[in-house]
């Protein structure tokens, strides 16, 4: 009856986590936006703790979770922010956009209205995050709930793709937080998009030997902010 009980692990994803103790990992602030009920919290929880709660509550205020991941050999810590979607709480939600490195624009494939509102979410984000140039900001569009039967799907993939093409061409990922489809892929694509943009900027890394946490990121700037921390080394 006694089972052999060495630690059970999941199937390895990529390499192990080599950088946990001594090395740096890049801290990225990720904001998940979208209409109420599209599954923002569920996406976050699926990604961070690989868990889906059919009966989760709607979010009140803001919540965030951290997750360490490795993409293309680089270690990242994602600080993922999840907010309440109702208009009434807008003034308490938007301050958290500031200093974001990545923004997930989410809709539910079975909720046409949530897809229509993507443009609103995008512009709300650009306005309040105070991003200088929207087209170079790493957005990613996530169509959640692809587990619904085909008959309930209200947003065809092609249409979503077309929307993306007209709006800065962010990557599109269709996910299901419920059955775990593409959730890791979505966050992975988001980080990859961030890394691509960062590389494109082709700037020399400012080596600040005194305080590594204060490196500036050039494609997000604002007049009143003391600095952003897209490259924060922790």
């Amino acid at each position: 009856m006694a089972a052999n009980n060495s630690v059970q692990t999941t199937t390895p994803r990529g390499s192990s986590l080599p950088n946990r103790n001594s090395q740096r990992s890049t801290l990225l602030k990720v904001v998940i936006l979208g209409d109420g009920g599209v599954g923002k919290s569920c996406l976050m929880n699926r990604f961070v703790s690989n868990h889906f709660d059919e009966h989760s509550f709607h979010t009140i205020g803001v919540e965030f979770l951290n997750k360490d991941i490795e993409i293309n050999g680089e270690a990242y810590t994602l600080q993922i922010w999840d907010t309440a979607g109702q208009e009434r709480f807008k003034t308490l939600r938007t301050p958290f956009y500031r200093g974001s490195d990545i923004c997930l624009l989410t809709y539910a494939v079975d909720d046409r209205a949530s897809f229509r509102n993507l443009a609103l979410w995008r512009s709300e984000f650009l306005y309040y995050a105070d991003v200088e140039e929207g087209s170079t900001f790493p957005f990613i569009v996530v169509g959640n709930k692809v587990d619904v039967p085909e008959s309930e799907k209200q947003v065809p993939t092609e249409e979503a793709r077309a929307w993306c093409a007209e709006n800065g061409d962010p990557p599109l990922v269709e996910t299901s937080a419920k059955d775990a489809t593409n959730v890791e892929a979505a966050f992975g694509a988001a980080v990859a998009a961030w890394a691509r943009l960062e590389a494109k900027l082709d700037r020399p890394l400012i080596e600040d030997t005194v305080d590594l946490s204060k490196q500036q990121s050039p494609h997000r700037s604002s007049c009143c902010m003391p600095g952003t921390e897209s490259n924060k080394v922790i």
Binding site: T9, R20, G36, H58, N66, T94, S213
Partner: protein
């Protein structure tokens, strides 16, 4: 949390532990598991693994206490990694390098593990206590016991950059150096042992209380949040001198010194027998005040709640007779169904042209499916109670269209419907509840802003140290208490505790805004952890969010009442801004003209009450005394730092 890609080696294991964290669902909380220390190539971590229900521990013949094991030692079988199809509990892992501190609680029955990012887990030791676990942790990491709280341990980071700094940068002595040296020498002579220890503990303090790394994004977010809340971050009441970085500063800025907190024992709940005695032959409640007092002290016994809530929520008048109440209920039933018919008879075409209505309807649909679904009453697909929840909220939209539906309302309704189990009664009780808290849901969020501001004002008197700490760490806006206040702690307590807390709050005893004193009581419990962990804006938010379902109600309530008595003992010295919070008349030491300003806190008209204790005096210099006690405090609360 990370997922390992290799086999770890168990170096310590202990069974019979329940682990709860913010991501642990309420029903998961019951599953028992083992708490282990596991070694991986990249470091050690604490792992909690749920025990499979069908497998009983085979170790019963052994010592149930901790035992040193290696990876081959038998142990209870654990469920597989990740969620299974039934969504059962999952393995939780905390890297030791991510651990910030821990606290032993409840005579060792509980262990609170706090991570650097603010995440909190609570381990409940069911078979024994946490002592052995703590001892085993000592073998793997450097710990330092808090000076303030002997159950609180800091995990010392091996590679702390501060230690690499030269001591000259540490600004060791806050006094004039030569004074300090002379004092040291004098003290060394008089009491050599204590003085030496003191000096060493000061060094340790530098280590512990060092400033967190400055984080520009957090500061910017906090700054914007302050503007959103239009609460101006108060100035620290003490002029900041160098050397203060590591010192947990005293309350020199607050001129009000509170007496010790008196113990306030809780009482027994209102019983059927008591309730019957309070009613006259016609059914009138003869002494509502006495009833309220019993409820404040101990709540209401479960079987009676159903009846008494209708009085507390102003559905039934206390002085109504049984016959009148039957009549009233009939009337209210008609009224309810009339309003319900209004939206039920809306045609799809009408709806198409009525976007405000449509938006509210759609949001209610979504939220009803996400409200208390783990409660048996609302569980399962096509549960008829969900339809009732929906109908009541929709009818409330017609009852109060200006307010409409705002997220959070379904949380307030759910326990009421569950208790009343009647659509009509639940609706009218909900109306009564909303009348008490509707300012929380207003479009401009003025009620919420005012309450956060009031809470801040209260803390400046009850917890000046914490007040200062929060200010210095971008958290003076009290945003981290938003959820507590918006839904009156609904998300923080289990379904039984929340009913007890609400009925106590509805008594309006011992003063109005008692819920703010409850906030202060919880923060009093948490302040050591917030301050000694040196948590900043995000970690504070995380820590407070993670308190959900870990707050002990009876203790919190007696502490909150104790704070009330402390305030009342120095009542005449309290600034008006605090006096009005607890329902005292302002002393009106404030020139009336100052009230006109568009200052943030002056918007503090929560529940319609005017808080005119706020004034603008920030243009005066910091150390000017105004001839009454509240001045230095008022400066701290000053509303005009825009």
């Amino acid at each position: 949390m990370f997922e390992p890609t290799e086999q770890g080696k168990d170096v310590f294991t202990h069974g019979g532990v329940v682990l709860r964290g913010a991501n642990t669902r309420e029903d998961d909380a019951q599953s028992t598991g083992t708490l282990n220390i596991v070694e991986y190539s990249y470091g050690k971590c604490i792992e909690w693994k749920p025990v499979e229900v069908s497998v009983v521990s085979e170790n019963q013949d052994q010592d149930p206490e901790w035992s040193l094991v290696d990876s081959h030692t038998r142990r209870t079988r654990t469920s597989s990694e990740g969620p299974d199809s039934l969504g059962r509990a999952r393995t939780v892992r905390i890297m030791l390098t991510d651990l910030k501190s821990f606290r032993v609680h409840h005579g060792g029955q509980q262990l609170i593990l706090m991570q650097k990012d603010g995440t909190t887990y609570v381990a409940f030791f069911q078979l024994s206590n946490a002592e052995n676990f703590v001892n085993s942790m000592k073998a793997f990491m450097k710990l330092k016991r808090s000076r303030v709280d002997k159950n609180f341990y800091h995990v010392m980071d091996e590679f702390n950059p501060v230690l690499e700094n030269s001591f000259s940068h540490l600004d060791l002595f806050q006094e004039n150096t030569s004074d300090y040296v002379w004092k040291f020498v004098r003290n060394l002579h008089n009491r050599p042992y204590e003085t030496t220890l003191e000096a060493f503990s000061k060094l340790a303090d530098i280590w512990l209380y060092k400033e967190p790394v400055k984080r520009p994004v957090e500061e910017a977010v906090a700054d914007l949040l302050n503007r959103s809340l239009t609460i101006d971050v108060p100035h620290p009441p003490v002029s900041v001198s160098s050397g203060e970085e590591y010192e947990v500063i005293g309350d020199a800025g607050s001129s009000v010194v509170l007496p010790p907190r008196p113990p306030c024992p809780r009482g027994a709940p209102l019983s059927q027998e008591q309730w019957d005695r309070f009613k006259d032959p016609e059914g009138r409640v003869t002494n509502p005040k006495a009833v309220r007092e019993i409820i404040f002290r101990g709540g209401i016994c479960a079987s009676l709640r159903f009846e008494v809530w209708k009085f507390l929520l102003n559905y039934y008048p206390w002085n109504s007779t049984t016959a009148e109440r039957i009549e009233l209920r009939k009337k209210k039933t008609d009224e309810y169904f009339m309003m319900k018919l209004q939206w039920r008879s809306m045609t799809p075409a009408q709806e198409n042209r009525f976007s405000d209505y449509r938006d509210r309807k759609s949001l209610i649909e979504k939220d009803v499916n996400r409200t208390d679904r783990t409660r048996v009453y609302y569980a399962g697909d096509n549960n008829p109670h969900l339809a009732q929840l929906y109908d009541i909220l929709m009818t409330y939209v017609m009852y109060n269209f200006d307010l409409g539906y705002v997220q959070g309302m379904s949380d307030l309704l759910s326990p009421i419907l569950c208790l009343m189990d009647s659509e009509v009664d639940a609706f009218w009780c909900f109306v009564g509840f909303m009348n008490k808290v509707s300012t929380n849901f207003e479009m401009d969020q003025a009620g919420m802003k005012a309450q956060l501001c009031q809470l801040n004002a209260l803390l400046s008197v009850t917890e000046p140290q914490l007040f200062n700490y929060l200010y210095k760490n971008d958290s003076g806006n009290m945003f981290f208490c938003f959820r507590w206040l918006l839904v009156l702690f609904k998300r923080e307590f289990n379904s039984i505790d929340i009913m007890k807390l609400w009925e106590i709050l509805w008594t309006d005893l011992p003063c109005k805004n008692f819920h703010l004193l409850v906030c202060a009581a919880i923060l009093d419990t948490e302040k050591t952890m917030l301050m000694e962990n040196r948590y900043g804006f995000t970690e504070i938010l995380k820590h407070i969010n993670d308190l959900s379902l870990h707050i002990e109600l009876p203790w919190t309530l007696s502490k909150a009442e104790g704070i009330y008595h402390q305030l009342m003992a120095v009542e005449s010295q309290l600034p008006d801004s605090v006096r009005v919070i607890i329902g005292l008349e302002p002393l009106n030491k404030t020139p009336a003209s100052d009230l006109e300003d568009e200052s943030a806190c002056a918007g503090a008209h929560a529940n319609g009450e005017n808080s005119n204790g706020i004034r603008r005096d920030s243009d005066k210099s910091e150390n000017v005394k105004f001839g009454n006690n509240e001045v230095s405090y008022e400066r701290g609360l000053s509303v005009s730092y825009i």
